[in-house]
Symmetry: C2
């Protein structure tokens, strides 16, 4: 065994994000000595193929991190809160996809193309919320050309962002409607088939949802603009995969459509649609690695304004891929 | 025959909006001496029940308006352009649902609750675009309390806004996916099942769609604010009926959430959801007459800002009901 090749653990390996992490890791150039898969006792014993080997899922326990160099967590905030410190105590670097550590001071919150230089500053690194990642990558690139003054974002988020049960629920609810069978919403509070639900995560005291606060607060942290003027409305739409965002940006100085197109085209990880008759859509971008930006047009309601339509695969760039990119930056 | 009771004609009577006009007229208190239904030759001869009588569809011809007092047009811009002047020449008042006359000077563009006093100023009255109506009713009510400074709107529009073929297409495409049958998009340029399409109507030179320009220009005309700072992104979502809008409003002066709730609650035709955990959704409001407003919350990214979520049945308040309300205002 090559001592330089790390032992990598995926925690929550059987969920949508965990599985996508395995796929992104498999297709990456990262060399590893061993892949370990952890999940709940229900999934323990399941076998997955990884680069030609079979890997058996083990139960997530307090002792499961011995010998692990890097642990990618695709678990709930509660499980991350409990197990990430145990992984660190066992000597691992943790890259956590949950919301638990994201806003903690000293915890780097990283979008690979934006601030991957922050790896190494802490043993726990947080992966941002899916709807934040695709937004911030674009905001960061444009901010370097013309300072952001204010951002208004409305999201069109797919059900896979809410996990496997939610994905199944859209599918099975739709089928029930065709078959005139009754059903009871479970993964969502309301019917999602042929409906939009303007609530993602819990509603807080001032009427914003936690998802909306994640977009606002995580963007400020990643961009290192603690006073960035930004507001968000997060909406679940009956789409299986990928998130779309209608984004209105006001700048402090002029940024033409052509300059925005050129800036984004030159930015890593971003795919630009300069022709207005061609635009990214959730169905088309699913399975791709890039953040797709289209419908870039001047907003004449302010002196320096643009409207954009940003779409990305929420399980890949919005979660697993970004985590694996952070891992690559850690390994160096 | 009571001479005071008008002869009313629905043009395009067999389409989605035409049928909804018939339903709205039937349940209204408007007394009429005769209902006439006009459509293409394909539909001529079809029979519909109206207040206990059978009405036979006749072909839309140049002579079809003789003796008609009021003609409700639910036709394309092209057909309205051709036949509305003929209806006027035959002595009728026209209420037109198409975009053709909306922006013409001298043509009143009416949202019943906002500016129905403009009826009587012209023989042709225009019914605004569906996504405009629900927005403007809310903007108008709030503008009376605190002047509008800027509006940013992103829409979540159902397929029924694109007509019967589009409604059928979402349904049949979805079924084809379950049955693993191939299909070719026809009513829309792209697959709409499990997808969002950020284009409604044609794309213009500066990248905005006609639908977005309708929202911008019609709002300015109805509100009599020709310089209103407003921008829009219009998106088709895989929902059968009703349109939703994520609306960000900046005001010139303070308007608290409570004041906005009180103002909208006191406004006719608007149903308010003051409890943040309860909000309108497209599925739930379909078939209702009101414009539903929820998720009303402060936007701290500007001094005086609010975010709102506005939902209405696009075929009823967004089209047929508003037309019948204009008709009622005409009859007086």
């Amino acid at each position: 065994m090559n001592q330089k090749k790390p032992v990598i653990t995926i925690v929550g390996a059987t969920g949508l994000v965990g599985q996508e992490m395995m796929a992104c890791l498999e297709s990456s150039t990262i060399q590893l000595s061993e892949l370990r898969l952890l999940a709940s006792s229900d999934s323990a014993g399941e076998l997955y193929k990884f680069r030609g080997d079979e890997v058996q899922v083990r139960e997530l326990t307090e002792q499961a991190f011995a010998g692990c160099d890097y642990a990618l967590f695709a678990t709930s905030a509660e499980l991350s809160a409990k197990f990430a410190p145990l992984a660190v105590a066992a000597g691992a670097i943790v890259i956590d996809n949950s919301s638990h550590f994201r806003m903690q001071e000293g915890v780097p919150l990283i979008v690979a193309e934006v601030n991957s230089e922050a790896v190494g500053k802490n043993k726990i690194i947080a992966n941002p919320n899916c709807s934040t990642i695709q937004l911030v990558a674009v905001l960061s690139a444009l901010h370097k050309k013309a300072a952001l003054k204010r951002v208004v974002v409305s999201t069109y988020q797919s059900v896979s962002g809410a996990g496997k049960e939610a994905l199944d629920e859209l599918w099975s609810q739709t089928l029930s409607i065709f078959n005139q069978r009754d059903f009871t919403p479970e993964a969502f509070a309301h019917q999602i088939a042929f409906n939009c639900i303007p609530q993602i995560d819990l509603i807080c005291d001032d009427g914003y949802t936690k998802e909306e606060f994640k977009i606002i607060n995580e963007s400020r942290k990643i961009l290192q603009l603690p006073n960035l003027r930004i507001t968000a409305t997060a909406v679940r739409v009956p789409v299986l995969h990928s998130h779309a965002e209608s984004v209105n940006i006001e700048f402090e100085s002029a940024l033409s459509v052509n300059d925005a197109v050129a800036t984004l085209t030159a930015s890593p990880g971003i795919s630009v649609y300069p022709d207005w008759t061609d635009y990214p859509m959730q169905l088309a971008v699913t399975g791709t690695d890039e953040i797709h930006v289209g419908r870039i047009r001047r907003d004449d309601s302010v002196e320096f304004g643009l409207n954009l339509w940003i779409v990305a695969d929420n399980l890949r760039k919005g979660a697993a891929l970004n985590a694996v990119q952070i891992l690559a930056a850690c390994i160096g």
